[in-house]
């Protein structure tokens, strides 16, 4: 069943009527948690750096730096950067778990016409390790894609350090051309990956028992023949995002649930018909997804 783009959007708008409050509250909670996690980790690192400096001063007996002239930004010990990296990793895992919870909420909205804020925490209670593993895979992919750039930059730095001369014009031009070409290549690869596996977080939010690689395989199968539809659907939201920017992000409180629900609808459209209506659906109220009368 291939539903048109306009119909998918219409169904998302219908489903969201009466659910905007919950979805907006979830978005505000997610934004608040993201802000709190990043702020706490930064304060922790700054505080740790300052504490380390005070301890160093106490050991050396020079109290002037400890008491008066603590430089919070410049004297952070190197191990604190490792801690900062780990905190960043953990915070990104927390945020992705919440994002999967929001996908779950969107799926509930388009399937059942209602959702609850507790669904936001669904991913924390239902095998969070597989979502964390998927996020780890994304990081590994990003790191691997950066390896050629790191190697080339280090090669130029080492060669200039050995020769003792500044990098010449040809070297810089080669580096710029290489980086430009490489960034374009990586962008194409990322777009292809997104077109093949973009719905994996919806799939994982819908299938508790599927592992990471099984989910990736299933989503890859689902996307066959639908990649162009997915791309066009993604591009069709450019105007909405521009409107969101015009309103300084206020509009995104309504637009983001709309976009999520449209993609949830697109995901449900790709599922086999037997999986579209959940078994717990009681049939007492109108299911917005079946497209029949009632709205």
């Amino acid at each position: 069943m291939k539903t048109s783009r306009a119909e998918l959007k219409m169904r998302a708008r219908r489903s969201l009527l009466g659910n905007y409050g919950t979805m907006i509250l979830a978005a505000i909670i997610l934004a608040g948690i993201s802000w709190a996690v990043s702020t706490v980790s930064q304060i922790g690192v700054m505080g740790g750096g300052a504490a380390g400096q005070v301890m160093d001063s106490l050991r050396s007996g020079d109290f002037s730096a400890a008491g008066v002239n603590i430089n919070f930004s410049m004297n952070i010990p190197s191990y604190m950067y490792v801690i900062l990296g780990l905190l960043g990793l953990i915070s990104s895992w927390i945020i992705v778990l919440f994002a999967v919870g929001m996908n779950r909420m969107s799926l509930c909205v388009v399937r059942e016409g209602r959702t609850e804020i507790s669904q936001m925490f669904w991913a924390f209670k239902n095998r969070p390790a597989r979502i964390i593993l998927l996020q780890l895979l994304v990081y590994v992919l990003e790191f691997v894609s950066m390896v050629p750039v790191i190697v080339l930059s280090m090669a130029i730095v080492v060669s200039t350090a050995v020769s003792g001369a500044d990098p010449n014009y040809e070297q810089l031009l080669f580096l710029i051309l290489f980086l430009t070409g490489y960034v374009i290549l990586i962008m194409i690869v990322y777009i292809l990956i997104a077109l093949n596996y973009g719905l994996v977080y919806y799939y994982m939010a819908d299938h508790r028992d599927e592992g990471v690689f099984a989910s990736l395989g299933k989503v890859h199968e689902m996307m066959k023949g639908n990649r162009m539809r997915y791309l066009v659907l993604q591009l069709s939201f450019i105007g909405w995002n521009l409107l969101s920017m015009l309103t300084l992000g206020i509009g995104s409180l309504w637009i983001m649930p709309y976009i999520r629900c449209t993609f949830a609808g697109f995901y449900l459209d790709l599922l086999p018909q037997a999986e579209t209506i959940p078994p717990q659906w009681d049939g007492r109220t109108q299911n917005p997804w079946d497209g029949s009368a009632g709205f």
């Binding site: 009527l17 905007y20 969101s244 015009l246 309103t247 300084l248 206020i250 709309y258 709205f295």
Partner: protein, 87 residues
């Protein structure tokens, strides 16, 4: 459900009108204009817009166009007037 749809269309209309009024205040009108367009579009759950949503959409677009134009005119007038001080 219909009530919620109407509320959104009504909000769109109010924000659209507010955007035209606020477009004189140095581009502030862009924010309600954008919100008016968003609410008008999101309130469309049938084939056609309701009359309130249509009003909100039109006034929102007018506010969106007017706000930067009036902002530029305002800046130009301030520039001309401040130039007169020096001459």
């Amino acid at each position: 459900m219909v009530q919620q749809n109407r509320t959104m269309a009504m909000a769109s209309m109010i924000l659209g009108i507010a955007s035209i009024v606020l477009s004189c205040c140095c581009c502030i009108g862009i924010i309600p204009a954008g919100l008016a367009i968003i609410f008008a579009c999101l309130s469309r759950v049938e084939e056609h817009f309701t009359s309130q949503a249509k009003t909100g959409l039109i006034t929102g677009i007018i506010g969106l166009v007017m706000a930067p134009i009036l902002g530029l005119i305002l800046i130009a007038m301030i520039g001309v007037n401040s130039g007169n001080v020096w001459y």
